[in-house]
Each structure stands twice: as C-alpha cells, then as structure tokens.
C-alpha cells in the first residue's frame, strides 16, 4: 500500500466529514441537536449541481450550495427555536424532506429519478490528485477556524453559554434565540459546503448521494466530544478506516462491512463512557418554555 496515495485518498474522503462535523459542533454547542446534517449536505449537494449546471461555473455552484444548506437550516431553526418542536423528530423530518425535495427537483429540472447530467467542477489535473480543488483546502482549514471562533471570539462564548446554561446567558443580556439561529445557520452553510464538495468532486448529483455521511459526521462530533479539533481528528480517523476498506477490497483479509461499522461502534463506546465519558453540552436538545 502506497502511503502517499493512502493519505491523499483519506483526505479527499474526510473533506465532506470535516465540513459537516464542524457545522455539527457549532449547532450542538449552541444546544440544538444536529441529526439534520445529512439533510443539509444533500440539499447543498443538489443546489450546487443546479447552480453549476445553469451557470457553467462551479463558483456559482458553491454559492447556490451554501444557499441550499442554509434554507434547510433555517427551517430547522424556526421549527426548533421558534416553535420549540422536538429536535430529534424535526431532524428526521428535515432529512426526509431533503430526500423528497431533491428527488422532486431532480425530476423537475433534469427529468430523471436517479441522477443529474455531468457538471463542471474544480481542478481536474490528474497529477494533483484532487489537491488543486480550493474547496479541499477550505475543508482542511474549517476546523481550526471553528475552534478559533468557538473558543476565542465573543460569539463563540455566547454559543457555548447558550448550550451550557441558556438562563445564565439570558440573564446577562445575551439573546439565546438569536445566537442559536446564527449557530444553526452556520451549521447549514458548513454542512451544505460538505455536500457541495461531494457533488462537484463527482461532477453530478445522484439520488441520496450523501449515503449516511451526515450521520458519520455527527458520530465524529460525539466521538470528538463536541470539540472542533477533536471532531476533525475523528473525521480523519473514520476516513482512514474507509480508505483502508477501499484499499483492502478484494484481499478478503477482513469483510468490508466490519470496517464500515467502526465509526458507529466507536461512537457508542464513547457515549457509553468506556474510555472517558463523552459529556454533551448541558442544554443540548432541551426545550425551554
């Protein structure tokens, strides 16, 4: 196994996870459950293909993709913050809605029930192995930037306060609702970008193309104990497992399905507290009247 090719493949697999998990950390630190990352990614991916297809420029696709993630994030925010709906149920609804809406528009715009036509993307130089894609570099930067935002800016402090002790934040004049709206919107933008990367990397949208990646990202958030850097490392770890699975294919050393389980099994172990219990933000998922 060539270590360079392993590393490049691992990073390319990790990029969507890095975007989505960073968004997940943001929303969950503000106290809103992020089971919706899958839906945000899917809508971002579709919107990116739509924008790229009609403009011919992947940069327009990036913008429309961000918009796609943002729209679903705002639905999520209004339902959970304004209407105080159950965050897990809304998460299920958003994911179903994203599958439905993308399928519907796929039929409407591209007259297909499975995939869009091929669209432009970034880079494509065969020697660069995907590293001439600006989104890839953005993806590598997003976790450190999020760590800075969460731990070193006033906004980050407010986000953490909203997630740990909303009443205390409210009592010193922080609008918890506004902070949560901003955090969820940001998570939609980031997860949307994860979808954009995925779609433009494959040069097309296919039905349900995110295939559970949003759930892997949320696993990374939990396994990384709601810290952006540790979550990013978890993303890299899960991507490494996936790369291993791809490169071992055909060797029959170990069934690929067991490697597929690694992220989820690790997350359950982390939640069950076998090695240092993962403690979520105190107000995560709580609905206050």
């Amino acid at each position: 196994m060539n270590p360079i090719s392993f590393l490049t493949q691992m990073i390319r697999i990790a990029i969507p996870y890095l975007f989505a998990a960073s968004g997940g950390v943001m929303a969950e630190r503000a106290g809103i459950v992020s089971l919706t990352l899958e839906g945000f990614m899917l809508s971002g991916a579709f919107a990116a293909v739509l924008g790229t297809n009609y403009s011919g420029s992947p940069w327009v696709g990036v913008l429309t993709g961000i918009l796609g993630g943002l729209i679903f994030a705002l639905i999520h925010a209004v339902a959970t913050i304004r209407y105080r709906a159950d965050q897990v149920v809304v998460g299920v609804a958003i994911n179903l809605l994203a599958i439905g809406v993308t399928r519907f528009f796929l039929k409407l715009f591209f007259a297909s029930s499975s995939n869009s036509p091929r669209v432009a993307g970034f880079g494509g130089n065969i020697n660069a192995a995907g590293f001439d894609n600006p989104l890839l570099w953005l993806g590598l930067l997003v976790a450190p930037v999020m760590a800075f935002v969460i731990y070193r800016t006033p906004f980050g402090l407010r986000v953490r306060a909203a997630g740990e002790h909303p009443d205390a934040a409210e009592s010193v004049g922080v609008s918890v609702k506004r902070v949560r709206y901003a955090a969820v919107a940001l998570s939609g933008i980031l997860a949307g970008l994860g979808g954009v990367y995925l779609a433009l990397d494959q040069h097309q949208f296919t039905d349900q193309m995110t295939a559970g990646r949003g759930f892997i990202a949320i696993s990374a958030v939990i396994f990384g104990r709601w810290d952006p850097i540790r979550a990013a490392l978890a993303c890299l770890l899960f991507a490494a497992a996936e790369t291993l699975q791809i490169q071992l294919q055909g060797s029959n050393a170990i069934a690929s399905q067991f490697i597929e389980m690694i992220p989820y099994a690790l997350t359950i172990i982390a939640l069950a507290g076998v090695v240092g219990r993962a403690v979520p933000p105190a107000a995560l998922g709580k609905v206050e009247d």
Partner: protein, 206 residues
C-alpha cells in the same frame, strides 16, 4: 448508530453468505408464509395486504392494554413522566426502561414480518429503507397513543400509496416531500397547541 451497525452486519450476511447468486436476497422460503387477505376474502382482491395487517392491529390493542390497563404499563408511564418521582414511589426505573426497550425491539422487529413473511417471502438487503424512521414520525403524529398510531399509520400509508395513484399528474416524488412537511407541521404544532391550551386555562382560572 446501531442502525448502521445492524445494516452492515446484515449486508455481510446477505452479500457474503445467504444470497441467491447475482442478487442481494435470500432464496424464497415458503414454510412460514402468512396468507394474503385476498386469499381469505375476495373483497381484498388485488391487494398485497396480508395477515400481518391484522397482527399489527392486534399488537396496537395489546400495547394499549399493557400501557393503560396493567401494572407494568403504569410503572412505565410513571417512569416516563417523572423518573425521580417514580423511583421515589418504589418503581425501579432502570428495570422499567430495560423492559420497555426490549418490548419495543420485539414489536418493531415484527414490522419486518409484513414484508418478509407476507409479501416477498425472502429477505432482501435494505428492504426496510427508512421505514423505521417513518415509524418515529408515525408515533409522533399518533401522539404516542396506540390507537392514534393506528390512524397515523394508515394516513402515511395513504400518502405513499396515493403518490402512485396520482403519478400521471404529479411526480410521485411529491409524496416524499409531503411526508416531510406533515411530520414537520405536526412536530411544530404539538408544543404550540399545548402552550395555547395552557394560556387559555390560566385565563379561565384567573
């Protein structure tokens, strides 16, 4: 998380060991087949509905009886409403949760009967395709009551079957959108209605 582990494990069983070559399903097995309702009563002619439908309705009644007419059900509801108070009242909350999850696993597992024993007569990889997630939504729309769940389940079934019926005029993908919208609307309406009722009651008291 466990969902994905089970799916991967089943995929390993099916793809690696039990499948009919070139497919992702097991051979047909006729030993445990549930008869279709059409075989029993000709009025159901042309419907794929089978005995699992009746079993499901009976299970809903059984769940209602357990929850609202038995001691175990009383303990369960108490543990759900206010765990500390239930513990104080002498209920072992941990044991109740263990029991509730076991029952829930057994009953949800029966959901597979309809497809495997009643319809296809084989196990196919990924046949459930999100039915479990829809189940959460059905429970919500049915307001967590066994009879409400019956109505909600028929409502969602009508939606997806109706999608096929109107496919000539509207793409059937519209039904996927509609399901999401319905769940979202109910999830948003439930706490809102509760709040409105509470304020109304407070006004009456004052």
């Amino acid at each position: 998380m466990l969902n994905f582990i089970v799916l991967a494990l089943l995929n390993w069983f099916i793809a690696g060991h039990l499948h009919v070559p070139e497919t992702l399903h097991t051979p047909e097995i006729h030993a445990g087949v549930l008869p279709r309702l059409a075989d029993i009563d000709s009025r159901f002619h042309g419907s794929a509905a089978n005995l699992a439908l009746i079993v499901a309705a009976l299970v809903a009644v059984a769940v209602w009886f357990y929850l609202f007419r038995s001691r175990g059900g009383y303990d369960l509801r108490a543990a759900g409403l206010q765990p500390q108070a239930a513990e104080y009242g002498g209920i072992s909350v941990g044991r109740v949760w263990m029991r509730a999850l076991t029952f829930s696993g057994v009953i949800a597992g029966m959901g597979g009967i309809n497809y495997v024993l009643g319809y296809k007569h084989y196990y196919e990889d990924g046949f459930a395709s999100g039915a479990g997630f829809l189940g959460i939504a059905v429970a919500l729309v049915g307001r967590n009551h066994p009879f409400g769940v019956l109505i909600a389940a028929f409502f969602f079934a009508t939606l997806s079957q109706g999608g096929l019926a109107i496919h000539a005029f509207v793409p059937k993908q519209m039904m996927d959108v509609l399901q999401g919208v319905v769940i979202l609307a109910v999830a948003m309406a439930v706490p809102e209605v509760r709040r409105v009722l509470r304020t109304a009651r407070r006004r009456v008291d004052a």
